[in-house]
């Protein structure tokens, strides 16, 4: 995942023994994905930085008692998610992590706009600055419980099992949420990129 290719794996033994250099390696291996994750949950760079710092402070003090039942990465992500959600509750007490899986927005997914194949658009259009801002907005529209699963699994590349452990969910639950998140995002993106495809074909016909 985040550990650099070619460098030796991080030694849990050394970490438990208080090896500072090893801890610095751990920080470098995981700070970027943890910062990104916190930013996705909180949407604010300062809040994300607070979570990042808290995560490693907590990890440092908990390391001597870390039993290694889960991987280091899962353990760190779990601390970060908890910190971020706690901060979110404090900032916006009205947001509660709902237990439902977004069943309420069943439907959709049959409109013709969602059936335009926009994969053929050139990369520079798919990833233009405007498109990237749209991607950000689209993922922010997902309910938090779907967004987190999608982010951990599809962007950070955790396995279904690791995602489940990080979020304290069953694997089945992760799969259900992942499917919903992916379909929902595909739907939102299809409207946006579908329009681009139509603009292009109008231009080509003219």
């Amino acid at each position: 995942m985040s550990e650099q290719v070619g460098s030796p794996p991080i030694s849990l033994e050394a970490l438990r023994n208080g090896d500072r250099k090893e801890f610095a390696r751990l920080v470098d291996a995981y700070s970027t994905p943890i910062y990104r994750l916190a930013l996705k949950i909180l949407g604010d760079p300062q809040d994300a930085e607070d979570v990042l710092q808290e995560t490693f402070i907590k990890a440092l003090s908990a390391l001597p008692t870390f039993e290694g039942r889960s991987s280091l990465s899962t353990w760190l992500y779990r601390i970060a998610v908890n910190e971020a959600l706690m901060l979110l509750r404090r900032r916006k007490p009205e947001t509660l992590l709902t237990d439902n899986d977004g069943d309420e927005d069943e439907g959709g997914e049959s409109e013709s706009a969602y059936l335009i194949d926009w994969c053929c658009l050139p990369e520079e259009e798919l990833l233009s600055d405007e498109a990237q801002r749209f991607l950000d907005k689209a993922i922010a529209q997902l309910p938090e419980n779907l967004r987190l699963v999608f982010w951990l699994r599809d962007v950070e590349g955790l396995s279904i099992k690791e995602t489940a452990e990080t979020l304290g969910l069953s694997e089945t639950n992760v799969k259900t949420r992942l499917l919903r998140a992916r379909l929902k995002l595909r739907e939102i993106l299809s409207e946006y990129y579908g329009e681009r495809v139509e603009v292009r074909s109008r231009q080509n016909a003219a």
């Binding site: 500072r20 250099k21 801890f23 610095a24 920080v27 470098d28 700070s31 970027t32 910062y35 990104r36 930013l39 760079p45 930085e49 990042l52 710092q53 490693f56 402070i57 440092l60 997914e109 049959s110 969602y114 059936l115 335009i116 194949d117 926009w118 994969c119 798919l126 990833l127 990237q132 991607l135 993922i139 999608f150 982010w151 599809d154 962007v155 950070e156 590349g157 279904i160 799969k175 992942l178 499917l179 992916r182 379909l183 995002l185 595909r186 993106l189 299809s190 990129y193």
Partner: protein, 82 residues
């Protein structure tokens, strides 16, 4: 798309994309995909959606000064240059 059949297959697409769909279901799904252009569009754009987010996510770096402040907070400044 003919709603019923395609809708039922929708739930398999996620596993299919991950390569974890049961081989028998996989074959049936591939058979269906050969004859259903709509489902092919859903599959392609679903895969592309994931790819786009992965690409954008991987390029999102942490600002250098955030790393610096983190190292300072953790009393790790001696390892900052690495």
């Amino acid at each position: 798309m003919p709603p019923k059949k395609c809708r039922a297959l929708l739930s398999q697409l996620s596993d299919y994309v991950d390569g974890t769909l049961d081989p028998r279901l996989c074959k049936a799904l591939e058979r269906h995909l050969r004859t259903c252009p709509n489902c092919r569009v859903v599959l392609n754009t679903l895969q592309k959606t994931i790819d786009l987010y992965r690409t954008v996510g991987e390029n999102e770096n942490m600002p250098a000064e955030v790393r610096e402040r983190l190292f300072r907070r953790l009393d790790l400044t001696e390892f900052l240059k690495s």
